[in-house]
C-alpha cells in the first residue's frame, strides 16, 4: 500500500507542489539563516583563526579577542617566566586609519607581529615574501583590503604606498586572511613598526602569544599563566568559543537570526501542516473506503507518514541544496558571511521531521476518528 500512498501524493500535483514549495522554503530559510549566523560568528573570531597561537594572554578583564586592554611590555617577560612556556612574543592588534593616495580613508585592522619570529603570520601569502616585512615601512595587506581599495579606484600591488596615521606604509606582499567581524582589512607589519603606526599610549601591547613546552598542554599552560596577577590566558579554542559566546550573549544577533529561523518553522508548520491536512481531508472518503475494504490503522498510518516524510525529505533536500548553491556563490565573494557546519542541516532535518510528524499526526487524527461505515453515508 506504500506505493499506492506515494501515487496518491505525487499525482495530486497542486497539493504536492505546495507541500514541496512550503517545506523547501522553510528548509531554505532555516538553513540559510543559520549558516549566515554561523558565518557571522566565525567572523567575530577571525583574529584568533588568523593568528593561530596556542595560548593567548590578555589583561585579566578581557573577555574576548576583539576587546583589547593594552598591557605593559614587561608582561612578556613575566609570561616567559612561567614554567612550561616554550616561548612568548608580543602582539599588537588595533584598528587604525589608513589614508589612500586619493585622500580617502579606510579603517584597517593592524596586526604587529614579533619581528624576529613572525609568530601569527598570515597563513597564505598570495604574492611576495613574508621576510620582506623586515624592509622599511613594509606591510602586508589581505584580499579584503585589495577589494576595498579597488572599490575606491586604487589598485593595490607590491610597491603601493599609503599612510597609516600619517606614516607611510609600503605593500611588500599580499595575503589571504579570514575576514574580520567588522570587515576591516587585515594589515600585517612587525610589532615595532605597528607601535610606530599606532597612536601612542602609555601601554601599547595588545596581548602575549605563548607556546607550551612539549609535555605541557595549552590549557595547563593557560591555567598557570592565569595565576599571574592582572593577566588572563586562554587556550586557542577557549578564546574562539568565548568570543563567539560573548557576541551571542551581548548582542542582538542571535535574536535577529533566531526570529527568522522561527519564522521558517512557523511557515513550514503553517503551509505544510495545513496543506497536508487538506490533502488528508480531500482523501478522507477514499481512506474510509480503504478502511472498509480491510486496510488496518497501522497500514493507513504508514501510508500517511510515508506521504508526509516523502515531501519532507524532498523539501529538505531542495532547501539544503539551494542553500549550498547560495553558500558556494557567496563564499567566492566572501559576503555575506556563510558557514554551514554539519549541525545546521541536522538541526533543520530535526525541525522538518517535527513538521512532518505534526502534519501526519493531524491527518491521522482525522483517519483514526473515521468510522469505515461512513462510506455508506
Amino acid at each position: 500500500m506504500l506505493r499506492i500512498a506515494l501515487l496518491m501524493l505525487f499525482r495530486d500535483r497542486a497539493k504536492y507542489m505546495m507541500l514541496i514549495v512550503g517545506l523547501t522554503f522553510c528548509s531554505l530559510l532555516m538553513t540559510q539563516q543559520a549558516s549566515v549566523f554561523c558565518g557571522l560568528m566565525l567572523w567575530t573570531s577571525a583574529t584568533v583563526r588568523n593568528i593561530g597561537a596556542k595560548v593567548w594572554v590578555f589583561d585579566a578583564k578581557v573577555e574576548q579577542v576583539n576587546e583589547v586592554i593594552p598591557l605593559r611590555e614587561i608582561e612578556v617577560t613575566r609570561v616567559r617566566g612561567v614554567p612550561g612556556v616554550q616561548w612568548a612574543v608580543p602582539l599588537y592588534v588595533g584598528i587604525e586609519q589608513a589614508r589612500l593616495s586619493d585622500g580617502s580613508f579606510q579603517n584597517v585592522q593592524l596586526v604587529g607581529l614579533d619581528t624576529a619570529t613572525f609568530v601569527g603570520r598570515p597563513m597564505e601569502i598570495t604574492r611576495g615574501r613574508i621576510e620582506d616585512l623586515r624592509l622599511p615601512d613594509a606591510v602586508i595587506i589581505d584580499q579584503v583590503g585589495i577589494a576595498k581599495f579597488r572599490k575606491k579606484g586604487i589598485t593595490i600591488d607590491i610597491g603601493t604606498t599609503f599612510e597609516i596615521n600619517d606614516k607611510t606604509a609600503r605593500v611588500v606582499a599580499l595575503c589571504h586572511a579570514n575576514r574580520s567581524f567588522l570587515g576591516q582589512p587585515y594589515v600585517y607589519t612587525t610589532y615595532d613598526r605597528a607601535l610606530q603606526f599606532a597612536k601612542p599610549q602609555r601601554k601599547m601591547m595588545s596581548c602575549v602569544l605563548a607556546e607550551p613546552k612539549p609535555g605541557v598542554t595549552a590549557s595547563e599552560l593557560a591555567e598557570r599563566i592565569s595565576r599571574l596577577p592582572g593577566l588572563r590566558a586562554y587556550e586557542r579554542d577557549d578564546l574562539f568559543w568565548d568570543t563567539i559566546w560573548w557576541y551571542i550573549k551581548n548582542t542582538g544577533i542571535p535574536i535577529s537570526f533566531g526570529t527568522v529561523v522561527l519564522m521558517g518553522v512557523i511557515v513550514g508548520i503553517a503551509i505544510a501542516g495545513q496543506t497536508f491536512y487538506l490533502f488528508i481531508l480531500d482523501n478522507l472518503r477514499y481512506l474510509a473506503a480503504l478502511k472498509a475494504m480491510g486496510a488496518r490503522m497501522p497500514i493507513l498510518a504508514a501510508m500517511v507518514f510515508l506521504q508526509s516524510f516523502s515531501v519532507g525529505f524532498i523539501g529538505f533536500g531542495l532547501g539544503v541544496g539551494l542553500t549550498s548553491i547560495f553558500g558556494y556563490k557567496v563564499l567566492k565573494i566572501e559576503q555575506p558571511p556563510f558557514f554551514m557546519p554539519w549541525q545546521v542541516p541536522v538541526f533543520v532535518a530535526g525541525i522538518i521531521i517535527l513538521i512532518c510528524c505534526f502534519s501526519a499526526a493531524i491527518g491521522l487524527r482525522q483517519i483514526a476518528k473515521l468510522e469505515p461505515a461512513v462510506v455508506f453515508k
Partner: protein, 245 residues
C-alpha cells in the same frame, strides 16, 4: 409474505444470518434506534435486496453485516463466523478477504488509474503489485474496459466507473458482495446495465450478493427481497412473491 424470522430458513446454504440485532445511535439523552431486534438472512447463489424508504435502517444493516459498525445486541454470522466473537483486527482481516464493496459514490481514488484502483483489495491481502495489476487487468477486460487500464476514473462515465467499482469488488473473489445504492448515481438505462453486469459476474453458487436500494426499477434483478421500515424488517420473501404481495 414470510415473517422476518422465517427468512433465515432458506433453501440454499446460509451466507449471512442476522439474529435479533439492535443498533442505536446516541442522540442526547434518548438513543435513536437504527435497528430494532432485526432478524435477517441471505443465501449463497442469490442476490438479496434490502429495500425501504430513506432512514429505515437499510444502510445500517449493511454496515453491521460487513462489520464496519458494531452492534448493541444480537448476533451476526457471516459464512459461519460470528462477527461479535472476533477482535477488531480479525473483523478487518475477515472483511478484506471475504467482502467486496460497491459504494453509491463508487469511491474510486481519483489519483490512481483504474487498474491500480481495482488492484487495491489484492494489495491489501499482500499480493505484489505486478501480479495484482495483472489480475485487475484481466477482470477489467471481462467488463469491457481492457483497453483503458491506465485511464483515471474522472475520464470515465458514471456507468463505466460503476463497472470499475464492480471489478474492484470482485477482484479478490470475495464470498460476500455488499452494494450500497449501486444505481443511485446512474440514469435508468445505465443502472439497468450495471445490475445486469453485477448479476452476471457476481452471482455464483458460493457467493452471496446483498444490495441496498430504494430504486424499485431494479427489484426485478433480486432473488430475495427484505423490506425494512423504521429499523425493522417488515417483509422478507422471494422476489417473485414480493411483487404480488
Amino acid at each position: 409474505m414470510n415473517s422476518p424470522d422465517a427468512s433465515i430458513a432458506v433453501s440454499g446454504p446460509a451466507a449471512v444470518a442476522v439474529r435479533n440485532v439492535t443498533k442505536t445511535f446516541p442522540n442526547g439523552d434518548t438513543p435513536t434506534y437504527a435497528l430494532r431486534d432485526v432478524t435477517f438472512g441471505a443465501r449463497c447463489g442469490e442476490l438479496t435486496m434490502i429495500v425501504g424508504p430513506s432512514g429505515c435502517g437499510k444502510t445500517t444493516l449493511l454496515s453491521v453485516i460487513c462489520g464496519t459498525l458494531a452492534i448493541d445486541s444480537g448476533s451476526i454470522e457471516v459464512f459461519g463466523k460470528t462477527l461479535g466473537s472476533m477482535s477488531n483486527a480479525e473483523v478487518t482481516g475477515f472483511r478484506s478477504r471475504n467482502v467486496g464493496f460497491i459504494f453509491q459514490q463508487f469511491n474510486l481514488i481519483p489519483t490512481l488509474t483504474v487498474v491500480e484502483n481495482v488492484s487495491i483489495p489484492l494489495i491489501l491481502q499482500g499480493w505484489n503489485y505486478r501480479k495484482a495489476e495483472e489480475k485487475a487487468a484481466s477482470i477489467l477486460e471481462d467488463v469491457g474496459l481492457g483497453s483503458r487500464l491506465r485511464s483515471f476514473p474522472k475520464q470515465f462515465s458514471g456507468g463505466q466507473q460503476q463497472r470499475v467499482a464492480i471489478s474492484r469488488a470482485l477482484v479478490h473473489d470475495p464470498k460476500l458482495i455488499i452494494c450500497d445504492e449501486p444505481t443511485a448515481s446512474l440514469d435508468a438505462k445505465t443502472g439497468h446495465h450495471a445490475l445486469e453486469l453485477l448479476k452476471k459476474s457476481a452471482c455464483a453458487p458460493d457467493r452471496c450478493v446483498i444490495v441496498v436500494t430504494h430504486d424499485s426499477r431494479i427489484f426485478s434483478f433480486a432473488d430475495w427481497i427484505a423490506e425494512m421500515e423504521d429499523g425493522r424488517v417488515v417483509k422478507s420473501c422471494p422476489a417473485a412473491e414480493y411483487h404480488h404481495a
